[in-house]
Symmetry: C2
Subunit: 239 residues, 2 copies
């Protein structure tokens, strides 16, 4: 865990020279005090993890030389997470946890009870990158821009089922065992839950399966982690 891992959006192959941006070069030489010749681990989200030697680093940028592959690419299952952004810290947390637990795409949505008019997509994407860097991941889920839930559902491809963490269903957790495999999305509501109109719309959609997350009221961030865990353990790559 102490090893330095850096996400680099650049092709990676043995001997490949990889330019560093000013911020990356500063992080490696100024913050982490690396010297030319020191090695780090790099990944680009698609080609696994590679060792890379620091060739040079200055204020304007730097250069890495890619060595050998140190871990295979590990993509998550075809699982998306749809959630309504809440307070900043909890929104950051949801993105971080989705990246850690194994999620392909993260879709923030505006709902009738969501206060957020906008999100900082770039900041949330950076959180997903950092989670992968720190937890040994080789994949970074894409964080989409904020979209109204109604518009997202209007254009939804029913081939991807939605597991709806329905906060009105306090009670026993139905096992996910009987659900079909394939592409899924988990849908987590905002604080205060979904509106009556949203609930009615979700109830009419054949590809939506409501589930309970136990007899207690969970905050949205807790519900996201719990639902991702149950899905991964039953239908995902934790099996």
């Amino acid at each position: 865990m102490a090893r330095i891992r850096l996400f680099i959006d650049h092709p990676l192959a043995p001997g490949q020279a990889v330019p560093l941006e000013a911020g990356q070069a500063h992080y490696l030489s100024g913050v982490m005090r690396l010297k030319p010749g020191d090695t780090i681990a790099v990944f680009n989200g698609r080609d696994g993890e590679w060792s890379a030697r620091l060739e040079s680093a200055s204020k304007r940028g730097g250069l890495l030389a890619v060595g050998e592959r140190t871990a295979p690419q590990m993509d998550p299952p075809d699982l998306w997470l749809i959630f309504a952004p809440i307070k900043k810290a909890r929104t950051d947390f949801i993105v971080e946890k989705a990246a850690e637990l194994g999620c392909a795409r993260i879709l923030p949505v505006q709902t009738d009870h969501t206060n957020s008019e906008r999100i900082r997509q770039d900041r949330l994407q950076a959180h997903a990158v950092e989670a992968a860097e720190q937890c040994g991941g080789t994949f970074v889920p894409q964080v989409a821009d904020l979209t109204p839930l109604a518009r997202l559902l209007d254009g939804w491809d029913g081939g991807r089922r939605i597991l709806w963490a329905d906060e009105s269903r306090a009670g026993p957790v139905a096992t996910l065992q009987g659900l079909p495999p394939g592409p899924w999305a988990i849908l987590i509501g905002p604080e205060g839950g979904f509106s009556a109109a949203e609930r009615a719309a979700l109830g009419r959609m054949a590809f939506v399966t409501p589930v309970s997350l136990g007899p207690r009221i969970l905050r949205a961030d807790t519900a996201a982690v719990a639902a991702l865990t149950l899905w991964q353990a039953t239908l995902g790559d934790w099996r």
Copy 2:
């Protein structure tokens, strides 16, 4: 969720007069702007939830009059969480999530790779109270003082099994389905994992069951929520 809920360590019964401390009185009248005659919900961790009318509030304290019971007491299953405190925000988070997900007791431990020499037990306990207040809970898990893991295990009653989230077991999650019911504790390691000596000691104990939490490395706070979720859904009161 918008309703004001207050944890009060006082007997609750119809007509009961409950004195408010200065901080509670200030919160209700100064922060939440309640007036005498307004009602809130109160719970004491053992007698369910009750409605209560604000009789008076001043800088020195106040008084509530308990009305009728509005929800039954809901105790968690006999599940403890043992974890090694990490950075402040993530430690707070683990306590909050354990209270939300349903846990009877929270035991912070010092391990060979733990940096913390001390914790603020009172602050962590306040986080558990706040989680119950905000999530409609009627029970507050007790947060114990920091104890060395070795001492805790030395005096352990083997009648309570330990589910050890063993970070070295990256791989498929064994189902918890075959595990016996009864008292359990979940054990989550520190960043950097357990030491070789700790791992050997845990491996020798018949009441310890190691489990994997999937093929990815999870931060300690994520592992805590994931393990609590899987235990609750399989052996706990989410079934």
